[in-house]
Symmetry: D2
C-alpha cells in the first residue's frame, strides 16, 4: 500500500527534484501537486519550466496543479512535502498541519521553533518525537518536521561523527552552488568569472541550526549543543554541490587519522534513501570536488577529505549535493522516517 | 634616464603581465627578455603565446629572446625582474645576483631565507635593508628581493592595518582564480562547474610568509610575527582575483567599525605603481567580488568588505588581483622601491 | 558648450553602460536620468544596482531619477538616449519625439519602420537624412534614430566591407554573451556548463536589420539590400562579446585575401567614439575570441579572423562587444552623428 | 562466454570512459589495459588520474597496465578498443591488426583510408564488410574498424534520416565541449568567459567523414556521398556535449514537419548499447541543450530541435554526448557490431 503524498511548491527547483525522487519511490505515490495561484488549474507540464536532467515523468506531467491551500488538496493524502518560499511557508504550512496533514518541510520558516523537530535522520532521528510535544502544544492532528538548510546538512554529519571528542569551536567557509538559490536566484551576469562572498541569512543558519541538530532531546525538551560556530558563506559558479572548509577545535585531542576513522565509521540508516555509507572519506588531498563527488550515494552521501592537523585543531573539507542531500532528498528521508516511526 | 630592466621567464603568464606593466612604465625600459632554451633566438612574438588582453607592445614583439643565463644578458641592465618557475629560479637567480645584478623576484624559491627580504612596500618597506646583510653574507654585488605569494599579498595588508590591536589567531579560506596557476596550470575539465579544495604548498605559504612580512627588522636580524595562521585554499572557476574569507582574533578588542577605519586609513606610498588608496573598504556586504573589484587602483589595490563581529572576533573578506598586485605588479613595485632607496 | 543629454531606462544594463560612456564624454553632459515609476525620486545610487566594473561616477550617483515621461524631463535637454525595454519604448519614445526631443535609441521597437533611420555611422551614415522624411510624415519637432541589435552590429560591418563583391547569401551562427539579455535575462542555472540554441526574435533581427542597414537611401525612400540571410542564434556562458561564424556567397569571386584587405581597409569615421580602425583582421586562425578581443578600440571596434575559402564561398568569424559597440556605444555614436550633422 | 577485451590508451579521457562502459558490460570482460611506457607495470589506479564521475571499478583499479605493444598483450584477447592519440595510433594500431587482433578504434588515423570501414552502426552497418577487402589487401588476420570524430557523429545521424530527400548542401556550426580535447586539451585560462572559433583539423573531419559515412558500399568499393559540407567549429565552456547548428539544402522539398518525422522515426538497432530511440526530436525551440540533454539514452542518443524552414532550406540544431556517443560509446557499439556480425 503506497503512501499518498502531496508536494507544496511543486514547480520550483526543489519541487522538481522532489518529483524526480518521489516518482520512482517504492513507498510513495504522488497524489497532489500545488503551486501559486497563477499555476492552479494548469497541467504540471504547463505550469513548471522543467529544468532537471531527463524528461518530466509522464504521469506527473499531466497532473493538474492546484493552489497551495488545504481545501484544494484531497483529504486522503498521507504525507505532505513542502518546498515553499519561507514567506509563503510560514503562513500556509501551519494551516495544513492544523487541517490534519503530516508534513516534511524543506522551507526555512519555523526551523528554529522549540517544538519543531529539525532532523537529519542519521544524526538525530530521536528528535522526531518532539512531534508529541508539538501536537500537545499546538493542538494539531497533523505534524511538521523540518530538514535543515543545504549548507548546514553538508557539515553537520561530519561534526556529529566527531562529537564524542567534545566540539568546542568551528570555523566554516562555504563554496556554494548556484542551484541553492533556486532557478532565478543568481543571474549569470553576477556569477560567471566571479564569486560572491555573501548569501543573505545563510551564515546564521549554519551557526544556529547546527547547534539544534547536535543538541539533546530528553523526551520533553531539546537543549542545543554548546559548540560555537562562525561561518563565512560564498556563492561560486558551480551548478550543484556545496563544498565547505572546516576547522574544528575539540575538548579531547583529535588526530587526522582518528577523525577519518570516526567519519568513515559513522553509521547510516536502513531508510530507503539513506546511502550505504553516510560519509565517504577521501585520502586524495584534492577531494571531494563538487562535480566529481556530489553524486556519491545517489546524491545522499556526504564526502570528506583533506583531513589534517592545523595550528588550531583539525581541519578538513566536506561536500554534499545541495538539492538532493541538502534539500529534496533530505525531505524525502524525513518522510521515510515519519513512515517508519508510525507517524503516517 | 630610464632604468634598463630585464625580465627572466618573460613568456609565462606573469612574464606577460610584467611586460604589460613595464612597457609603458616611465622609469623602466625593457632591455632584455629571457626564456627557456627552446625560445632563445626567437622574437618575443614567436616565443610567447600572448594571452593577455590587448596586443603585444610592438617594440617588445620584435625583441629577441635570450636564454636565462647571466652571460646572455647585457651588462648594462640595472634591474632584473624574475618570474621563473621556482625550480629554475632556485638555480638561476643566485647566479644572476652573484654576477652583480639587482633582482626583484616573484618566484617562490628563497622567500623564507633569513637574509632575503620579502617585501610588500606599503607593509614592510623597512625590511629592504636586509639586503645589506644579504650582501655581507653572500658576497654579492647584486641583490635579491622577493615579493610574497599572490594569496599572501591579498590578506597581509589587511592584517597589517589591524596589527596595532595585537594579532593572535587568523583563519583564512581562499577562493583563488585559475590564473594563479599559470596558463596551463588548471585544465578546463578540472574546474568548469567545479572547485578544488587543494593547491599544493599554498597553505604553508600563507601561514609562513605572513609572519615574515609582519615581522620586525632591527637592522641586523628579522624576527617573525607571532600570529598563528591556519589557511584552507581552494581553486574556483574565476580568471583573475583571489577572494579570501578571514577571521582574526586580536589581543585588544576590535570592533567592525574600528577595523574598517584602520583599513581605510592604512597609508599607501608615493611609488609609481602604488594605488592612491591601498585598501578599499566596501559597505555593501556582498563586495568585494573578483570580477567587479579586481581592477581597483589598476589592479594594485586591495579590497575589503563584509566586516562583522563573529563569535571569535573579527570576520571579513578581502580581494586582490592575483597576477597584478599579487605577482607582476608586486615585483614592479619592489623594483620601484629598490630605485627609490638607491639600490640601482 | 556641452550638449545636455538625458538617459531613458538609466538603471538597466545598457543604461549603466551609457552612463559609463557619457560621464567622461567631452561633448555630452548628463542632465536627466529616467527609470520606472518605482525608482522615480530616488538618487541614482539607490535606484540602480550598479554592476559595471568600477564605481558609479560620483555626480551621477547623487542625481535624482525621474519617471520616464516627457513632462518629467527638463526642456533644455538637447538629446535623449533611450535603452528602454521595447514594450515600454514603443509607447514612450514617440511621446518624447512629439514633445520635441531628438533621440538616439537602442530599443528594438520601430527599428524596421520605413521612416526610422537604422544607423551604424561607419556603414550607412547617409541614412540619417531619412529623419527629414520622418519629421514630414509624423509632424515631429523631435526625431528618432535607432541603432541595430547587438548581434546585427557584429557582422554587418564585415558585410559592408564585402558589399562591392555583390552579397548574395549569408549564413551566420552566433555565440552570444549573457549580458545581451540584461542583468536578469539568463539565470546561472540555465547557462553554466551549457549553451542554449535559441534567443527569442534574435534570428529575425539579424536577417532583416542587416538588409535595411545595407540598403540604399535615395533621399526619399530606403530600399533594402537583396542579400538573403539565415541566422542561427546561441547563448553561451560568456559575459561580454558576441562571436559569429559567417559564410558569405558573393556574385563576384572573392578570395580570403581579398576579403581580409577589404575589411582591414574599410574606413572608420572621425566621430569621437569611432575606433581608429573599424575592423581588425587577425591572421591567427583562433582569433578573435570574446575575452581577449572584445575591448579592441575601447569596445567600439569589430574583429574578424579565420578567413578561408569553403565549398560555398568565403567563411570567417567576427566579434564585437555587445554592450558597447552593440548597444550603449552604438547609441552614443549615433548621438555624435546627430550632433555633427546639425540635428541638435 | 564473455568476449575478452583490451583497451589501448586506457588512462586518457576516452580510455576512462571506455572502462566505465566496459566494466559493467554483459558481453565484454576487460582483460588488458595499455598505456605509454611510463605507466607500464603500474596498477591502473596509480597510472590513471581518474577523473570520471564515480570511483574506478575495483577490479580495474588493481589491473597492471602494460605497454602498448602487441607482444605485451595476452594472445587470448578477442577484441581491442583503441583510444590512442592519432600519432601513436598510426604506428601501433596496424601492428596489432597484423598480429591478429580485431580492433574497434576511436583514433583519427586511417579513418579516411579506402579499405577501413568508418562506421556508425545505426547509419551504415553494411560498411563493416569492407573488412573483407581490408584483410585481402593487407593480409591481416586481424581487422580494424573506426568510428568517426565526435563532432561528425553528432550531425550525421540527422543527415542520414534526411538522405531520402537528396542531400545537397550542408552548413554546420559547432559549439563543442572541452572534454573533446582530452583532459589537458583546453586550459581554463583559455576558455572561462570565452569561446575559441578554431579547433585544429576539426572542420575537415566534419566535411569528409560525413561523406564517407553517408556513402554506398557495393561489396567491393565504397563511394562517398556527394553532399557538400562547410563546417565552422568552436570550443565553448561546457564540459560534455557537442551542440551543432545545421542548415540543409535538399533536392526534394523538405518541410520542418517532414524532417521531424523522418528523424523521430529513423530506426535504432538491437545492439546492447544502441538507445531505444536514436534521435529525440524536441518541440521546445530552446532544446536540445548540452547539460540537460547529453545523457539521453545513457549518452548514446542524438537530440534534435529547433526545426524550421529558412531562406535556404531546412535549419535545425542537434546534440550528442561527445565522449560517450561521440567516442567511447561509439567504439563499444562498433565492438558489439563486430561481435554480432561474427568477426570475433
Amino acid at each position: 500500500m503506497a503512501v499518498r503524498v502531496g508536494v507544496l511548491g511543486a514547480t520550483g527547483a526543489v519541487g522538481q527534484r522532489l518529483i524526480q525522487l518521489l516518482d520512482p519511490h517504492p513507498d510513495f505515490e504522488i497524489a497532489a501537486l500545488t503551486a501559486s495561484e497563477d499555476s492552479a488549474g494548469k497541467s504540471y507540464r504547463q505550469a513548471a519550466k522543467w529544468r532537471v536532467e531527463g524528461p518530466i515523468p509522464e504521469d506527473v506531467a499531466e497532473t493538474t496543479v492546484s493552489a497551495t491551500d488545504p481545501d484544494e488538496v484531497p483529504d486522503d493524502i498521507d504525507l505532505i512535502f513542502s518546498s515553499l518560499p519561507s514567506s509563503v511557508g510560514s503562513e500556509v504550512e501551519p494551516a495544513f498541519c492544523e487541517a490534519g496533514y503530516v508534513m516534511s518541510s524543506n522551507s526555512s520558516n519555523a526551523r528554529m521553533a522549540d517544538d519543531v523537530p529539525l532532523v537529519i535522520p542519521e544524526v538525530n532521528a530521536d528528535h522526531l518525537d518532539l512531534l508529541e510535544v508539538q501536537r500537545d502544544e499546538r493542538g494539531w492532528d497533523g505534524a511538521m518536521v523540518k530538514n535543515p538548510n543545504c549548507s548546514t546538512i553538508t557539515f553537520v554529519p561530519t561534526l556529529a561523527a566527531l562529537a564524542e571528542y567534545g566540539l568546542e569551536k568551528v570555523h566554516v567557509a562555504t563554496l556554494q552552488a548556484v542551484s541553492g538559490a533556486g532557478y532565478d536566484g543568481v543571474s549569470s551576469m553576477e556569477i560567471i568569472d566571479n564569486a560572491i562572498p555573501y548569501i543573505g541569512s545563510e551564515e546564521d543558519k549554519l551557526e544556529t541550526e547546527s547547534r539544534k541538530l547536535l543538541g539533546e532531546f530528553d523526551g520533553a525538551e531539546l537543549s542545543h549543543n554548546s559548540v560555537e560556530v562562525a561561518a563565512s558563506c560564498n556563492r561560486i559558479p558551480t551548478i550543484d554541490g556545496h563544498l565547505e572548509n572546516v576547522w574544528v577545535e575539540t575538548a579531547e585531542e583529535l588526530s587526522a587519522e582518528g577523525a577519518a576513522d570516526a567519519m568513515a565509521s559513522y553509521p547510516s540508516l536502513e531508510l530507503r534513501s539513506s546511502p550505504d555509507q553516510l560519509i565517504h572519506v577521501f585520502d586524495e588531498p584534492d577531494r571531494p570536488q563538487p562535480r566529481l563527488d556530489r553524486s556519491l550515494g545517489d546524491g545522499m552521501a556526504v564526502a570528506a577529505g583533506g583531513l589534517r592537523e592545523s595550528s588550531f585543531g583539525l581541519q578538513y573539507n566536506c561536500l554534499a549535493h545541495n538539492t538532493i542531500r541538502g534539500a529534496a532528498g533530505a525531505s524525502v528521508l524525513n518522510g521515510e522516517l515519519l513512515l517508519e516511526n508510525g507517524y503516517l
